[in-house]
Amino acid sequence: MQESGVYITLAGWAIFHLLVFPGGLFALGIGLFLKGADRKLEARLQRRVGPPLYQPFLDLIKLSGKEAMIPASAQRLLFRIAPLLGFTGMAVCAALLPVPGVYAGLPDMGDMLVYFYLLPLPAVALILAGSSSSSPFGALGFSREMTVMFAYEIPLLLVILAVALHVGGGRGAEFSLGRIVEHQLEHGQLGFNWELIPAFLAYLFFLPGTMGVPPFDIPEAETEIIEGPLLEYSGAALAFFQMAGAIKTVVVLGFGVALFFPGTLPGGPLVNILWFLGKCLALMFLTMTLVKAATGRFRVDQAFAFYLRYPTALAAVSLILVLARL
């Protein structure tokens, strides 16, 4: 009897984490705020006024009221499922995200390998969307998305391995995100560890690729293949892609914070949430906004070669250094 009560409490907490904090509402709110900050900062960099900070919220409300069209020749079922797939994948990721000092993640479930499998889901959703929309631009976009995805996943895997082996410290690899954060709170942050600085740089390179911002916005290049896989989406379905993108921003930035800079401030949970938000904002400004405002767009082969050269080499250096010390 007592045991079932424990399970019900656990299930209740899991649902709370999925829907309210840190997944669901919290991640969506922060993600949309980050997107708005991104547009505002980019505009300020170009000496424009820019939209208000809450612009992404307005966009979502507008989109939910628009007519949703489905092309006559599309694969209707896949076309409808694709946006939900990316969104749910990211919502689950966000629920497992540790917010240092506030929420430790789910120690037995919040595993880096789970992230490695769930993080590509929005890209997979784009691939499904592009292939089911029956548009030639969608098909072009999805083939580009697949190419770029394979290139940027390799440095991510090496980064994850380097961190796991370092934290495991000779006893094997430690993949639990919650324990990695704990380890760093005790032994110092990995971002200040010289062995793992190359891995951190590789992760910085990984961020613009996975978020699809210039110069890596190749699959959704709106000026050449008119937004590729998203071309045929309108109304609420497009809003789901936008929400998935917003949550993904929080997830990849928060994952970076948890891996390299999970330090906490003395003070209550509120201070630490703001501190987490500040770190996310700084990371986003460095890897997305600045890069976006300053660059054009790579060709797909250039992006592929870039990812297989520099970020992979950096991550591999870290991995070798970590292995040499074991």
Binding site: A43, R48, V49, P51, L58, G65, E67, M69, L231
Partner: protein
């Protein structure tokens, strides 16, 4: 619900259709009206690549025979409610191309144009005023839609 309409019109996404324009108005749209000096992004505007994402559509050019079918097809792919702005003097009268053998215009023979922004090319300030007028018209339409309920397309035309 009226509250939501007022929010919705603060996020107009723009799309351009070039219906055989000489490119003068397009340059004016793409660059002059969207550089730091005139920045329409502060109104929440954003250029989108796909007609399916658009709310406000700019049409430039006198609608030549060669692009007529394609232009109409793209216009039909824009989801309702949409506002159509004809930019430049060509969509209104044909401009310098008036009477040419390949001119099918004026544009409103085929498409219900909501706002004309005349000029050859129009000044950036005029284009921005067109966007602001389009937002007001869009709001009125959304309110009419709510009052009428039911038939979307009928209420919009």
């Amino acid at each position: 619900m009226g509250f939501l309409s007022k929010i919705a019109v603060r996020s107009p996404w723009l799309y351009r259709i070039n219906a055989g324009s000489c490119n003068g108005c397009d340059v004016e749209l793409a660059t002059t009206a969207f550089i730091p000096r005139f920045d329409v992004e502060r109104l929440g505007c954003k250029y989108c690549g796909s007609p399916r994402h658009a709310d406000i559509v700019f049409i430039t050019g006198p609608l030549t025979l060669r692009v007529k079918d394609q232009a109409l097809r793209v216009w039909n792919e824009i989801p309702e409610p949409k506002i159509t702005i004809a930019v430049g003097v060509c969509p209104v009268s044909g401009g310098v191309f008036r009477g040419g053998h390949s001119i099918e215009g004026p544009v409103d023979r085929y498409i219900p144009v909501d706002i004309n922004v005349p000029g050859c090319p129009p000044r950036p300030q005029a284009i921005m005023e067109g966007v602001i007028l389009a937002r007001e018209l869009w709001l009125r339409r959304l309110e009419k839609l709510e009052a009428g309920g039911g038939e979307r397309r009928a209420a919009l035309s």
